[in-house]
Symmetry: C2
Subunit: 254 residues, 2 copies
Amino acid sequence: MATGRTHRPATRSRGIPEATVARLPLYLRALTALSERSVPTVSSEELAAAAGVNSAKLRKDFSYLGSYGTRGVGYDVEYLVYQISRELGLTQDWPVVIVGIGNLGAALANYGGFASRGFRVAALIDADPAMAGKQVAGIAVQHSDGLEKIISENGVSIGVITTPPGVAQQVCDRLVAAGITSILNFAPTVLSVPDGVDVRKVDLSIELQILAFHEQRKAVEEAAASDAAAPAPAGHDASTDQGPDGDVPAVMPA
Amino acid sequence: MATGRTHRPATRSRGIPEATVARLPLYLRALTALSERSVPTVSSEELAAAAGVNSAKLRKDFSYLGSYGTRGVGYDVEYLVYQISRELGLTQDWPVVIVGIGNLGAALANYGGFASRGFRVAALIDADPAMAGKQVAGIAVQHSDGLEKIISENGVSIGVITTPPGVAQQVCDRLVAAGITSILNFAPTVLSVPDGVDVRKVDLSIELQILAFHEQRKAVEEAAASDAAAPAPAGHDASTDQGPDGDVPAVMPA
DNA sequence: CGATGTGAATAACTTCACAGCA
DNA sequence: TGCTGTGAAGTTATTCACATCG
């Protein structure tokens, strides 16, 4: 969800669909697990099951990368790991800065999944002078005054924002001004960035709200199923529907 | 991304598209901000800008909920807040358990965005006996032995998994057996659940990998742009393309 | 044979553009 | 007149089904 889109008129690039790109890390994870178990080859069916997708989709996804499989056999695990890693740009080192070392920032700094994928936490940055110098995940937190210097000296192009929402945009602006072109935003704010900068967002509260929607729906369907004898009225129009709880809205439109 | 899909043959339900559901929390957040500033009405254009989408999409999304706007004027902020909240099921209380109180679990427990949206952390659960009794975010951590009891006594239907990946599936199984029907999974594992249980996943490492992909692509495009005089060769075939770094794969297919 | 790779068909989502109502 | 609500058109993604090749 949500990337800056088209950094350019898409100069006849290889054009891997965004949906496919978003699944490559999933395949990579499954393949890495197979690799660790020294499994030499895998079929689209098996790999798809391990990655939680269906096999047709997986084969179509791989077809955008090239013909890396062997008919009648399947895919060579090591080879695929390499190809996908390369495609994702994980064969190189990506220094990352995390800005905002609260609970979440610290959790991310400690998260093991980064290092194993080519990501390296180059610096932890916080605006609180009291945090400066403290060790988090074995790295000394630095004050945000030096943000620009840290970024340019370490050649950082990816920034992670785990600040409170109120300062996220200004942190973002400074990151961009300092040369960052990819941002992972955990603050519940819409960031505005110039063209050419990618933003991806993770909002914990949004995920829960989506679950709540489906959860509520289940409850409604269950109720509907229980009085199977009396089916719902036919002329069911959204504009008059008061939804699960029959309450009348507290406020009416002007 | 990734929900269990079709809990039933979709019994002619109101059928709000999944993509729309995923954006409702975004609109709600923007509307809440307007509400706090006592803005009475808002146009699709303004609200769309605040939510980071385009106005046509927003209007189409709202059209699935009903006709809640006023032509020539816009939308009543308070009324929309109520309607979207109700649609998402946020007018009711959702007790949530968090299993796995490491860095991330603690960060979530402390996250303020939950309470304000109808979510209430009913319990923090950890398998480590040494954690039991410790206070995190003002809540005492409980040992996972009592998981089933905690869930049934509190009527919990949403569980958050922040355990190490190795135990995520078994935690998931226990949650489901105890009656949980919605799971937010932070462990980098594919969970398998029976029909009727929704799983959403958040994988921090995956988000970074997607950013890396685009970041790498930018670098490639930049290089291509710099030698504008010598355009890339025409017969450019994915199966022979060695990508950004010209390295030959370490392993070849069988 | 067995599993890949892929055109063609279908479905989901987005954007356009404008009729229609306040 | 201004902005919503929505058919229609366009785009992207998924699934089907089978030719193809090791």
